[in-house]
Symmetry: C2
Subunit: 121 residues, 2 copies
């Protein structure tokens, strides 16, 4: 399917990447932040399944491809500077590789840090 939206119209960093925040579309919980390149933006819009760019593996990262913990795209939004994406998603299972629903399970304060979320069973 041809996209009427041009992923090249976004602003990428010098590595060709744009940060993408995944938010649970029902609960509003922020699940994770990862990176996309133009190809992963296009694939995500075309397939309705969230695909990131893995900086460590330097390849397309089809979220949940091995774990089954896929993210269905409900809506993509871009910010005023066109250099950050917000993905409203339907998350299957945990978003985090630690098996927690969200990657943001550690609270940080002036007195130190503590975990606020258990792994899913």
């Amino acid at each position: 399917m041809a996209l009427a939206f041009d992923p090249a119209s976004l602003t990428y960093d010098t590595a060709g990447l744009i940060p993408a925040i995944a938010q649970d579309e029902a609960s509003g919980e922020v699940l994770m932040m990862a990176w996309m390149n133009a190809a992963s933006v296009a694939e995500t819009l075309e397939t309705g399944r969230v695909t990131y760019w893995s900086r460590s593996r330097q390849e397309l990262w089809r979220k949940g491809e091995s774990s089954g913990h896929v993210q269905g795209l409900v809506e993509m939004r871009v910010d005023c500077d066109r250099d950050c994406l917000l993905l409203l998603v339907r998350q299957t299972g945990p978003a985090c590789h630690t098996n927690r629903r969200s990657c943001f399970y550690t609270s940080v304060g002036a007195q130190g840090e503590h975990e606020i979320m258990e792994p899913m069973v």
Copy 2:
């Protein structure tokens, strides 16, 4: 006040920065994403007012200092990789410089993009 939490324990990029997502602590709305360095993390924790690092001005950016649209810090969280922050905030007025509540006011789809949010009056 001495911090028991060491901002140097976070993972910064080659420019010494870490992305920080600001989320409205009451509504759950994602308001914006900006960047922090270790000094702005420390100042934010010490003062309870969110301070970013302005990449364009290359200086500490005390959110709302000129506009009055301050962000009070309710809670800071760090993700599993320690390379992204989530800030739960009490936002005064609009978070976006366009006077919209959130910077993510543009919806993107395969068929193009459209604005979903009006500036605040």
